[in-house]
């Protein structure tokens, strides 16, 4: 009896694992196909730079934003320039740079993929309610990731993370003591949401490109995948 139960559970786990792996593969393929479009790279670079500057500007709590306005025109551009350089790690610790760079990369990939999905939905002209809802969710998630990443930024050791005043309001001075942990949890949450949103957007991109340009998807499937297109469509559904 025990063996049978173990067998059933294990086969279900295997099935789940196989299905998940296929989803990741499809998402990866969808993103790769989306990358072939110029629009993808425009969206990617713009998101990367704008969000990168904002994230680095808020690394000092509100001081960076304040500095934009108290230092005159020269100070404004100098602060923006230094934030832009920090996106590429100039003046930053390597560990800080890698963390920010990772979040930026995920966020930019996500937004660029969503834009491709929306373009293909528009080209397709027949957008189901489900497709529209998924695109909307994608946008909402990208907003959520941006918000979480911003809240998690800053120097919790110094008590200048953006989350600190909120925690101070909720828990008085005791709130400052948990700012670091909360900041890390929020950053991790941003990364997890970004990864799963990217998977979902990747699958949507694959489905969207397949619908509008069936030849591209079909050729790639025959070449690279042991699965048939029908099987992929089942997973997408």
């Amino acid at each position: 009896m025990g063996f049978l139960l173990y067998y059933i559970v294990m086969s279900e786990v295997k099935k789940f694992h196989k299905k998940e792996l296929k989803k990741w593969k499809l998402a990866f393929r969808g993103i790769s196909l989306a990358m072939r479009e110029k629009r993808f790279w425009v969206a990617f670079v713009l998101t990367f730079l704008i969000f990168g500057v904002v994230l680095n500007l808020l690394n000092s709590g509100t001081a960076g934003v304040n500095l934009l306005f108290i230092g005159g025109i020269e100070g404004f551009f100098r602060t923006l320039w230094k934030s832009l350089l920090a996106v590429f790690g100039i003046g930053r610790n390597f560990s800080d740079f890698i963390l920010t760079f990772g979040i930026l990369l995920l966020q930019s990939l996500l937004i660029a993929t969503i834009i491709i999905v929306m373009k293909h939905n528009r080209d397709d002209k027949i957008i189901t309610a489900d497709e529209a809802e998924r695109a909307k969710t994608g946008w909402q998630n990208s907003g959520l990731i941006a918000g979480l990443a911003i809240l998690g930024s800053g120097c919790p050791t110094c008590g200048t993370a953006l989350i600190t005043p909120v925690l101070g309001m909720l828990f008085s001075t005791g709130g400052y003591a948990i700012a670091g942990t909360v900041s890390w949890i929020i950053t991790l949450l941003a990364i997890i949401v970004a990864i799963f949103s990217l998977r979902s957007a990747g699958i949507d991109a694959y489905a969207g490109i397949l619908k509008v340009c069936p030849n591209i998807g079909g050729q790639r499937l025959k070449k690279n995948s042991p699965t048939s297109r029908t099987q992929d469509e089942k997973i997408i559904d």
Partner: protein
């Protein structure tokens, strides 16, 4: 009807007059010199009669505070000229803020604050503060240790680290060490923390100059940003 008009006029006149008197009182009380507002003149730099009072609430365990202080130290000549030209007195209010309210409760915050209080008592605040910043830079920050939330933490530091800095600036080791453990030092720091919290500080560094109040600094910034902060409240 005429009476009501008179009453309204009288009330309005009293209100306007009261407001003007309050404004005068506010300006008179706000007109005292920077030196009169300082917690301790020994931790200030610049003219004590200055019109502008720049305060930096800081903690030696806060890496971003050190970035600001180092930027100033490395441009001392320009800094002196800036505060003289703009009639600013700069005051450093150093304490163990992060030991009490910070997450990791770094003991270096407590030791360094105690040591600075004792150095101030011997009129060696600036020598000790600069030596402390230099030691932290040489031993840790320049190697990327303890510089941010993702950087490796400062480990293995003992109380002696701060006692030895005292000895280097010419303080008697035993006397200095006894002072660091004294109740008076503990009391001084408790008072400072309480006053700092009342001033609205939630993190370090916290800058105040007139109506300008700002928390935080960034490790990609330097002297130009420090200069902007120093003159922001003028």
């Amino acid at each position: 009807m005429e009476n009501i008009g008179k009453i309204i006029r009288t009330v309005a006149l009293i209100a306007v007059g009261g407001f003007l008197i309050a404004l005068v009182i506010f300006n008179v009380s706000g007109g005292s010199t920077a030196g009169e507002k300082a917690w301790d003149l020994r931790t200030t730099i610049g003219n004590h009669e200055a019109k502008n009072h720049f305060i930096m609430y800081t903690d030696l365990a806060c890496p971003y505070c050190d970035v600001f202080s180092r930027a100033v130290m490395e441009n001392e000549e320009e800094f002196q000229q800036l505060i003289a030209e703009n009639d600013i007195m700069v005051e450093i209010r150093l304490m163990d803020f992060l030991y009490h309210y910070g997450e990791s409760k770094p003991e270096m915050s407590k030791w360094s604050a105690e040591a600075t209080v004792c150095a101030t008592e011997k009129d060696k605040f600036w020598d000790y503060y600069h030596a402390g910043l230099k030691a932290l830079w040489d031993d840790y920050h320049s190697k990327g240790i303890g510089t941010s939330k993702t950087a490796p933490k400062i480990e293995g530091m003992t109380r002696d680290y701060w006692v030895n800095i005292g000895e280097k600036v010419g303080l008697d080791k035993d006397e200095f060490s006894t002072c660091m453990d004294s109740e008076e030092t503990t009391r001084t720091l408790a008072e400072r923390r309480e006053k700092t919290l009342r001033s609205g500080a939630q993190g370090m560094p916290y800058f105040v100059e007139g109506k300008f109040k700002q928390s935080g600094f960034d490790n990609t910034w330097g002297w130009e940003e420090a200069k902007t902060f120093l003159t922001a409240g003028i």
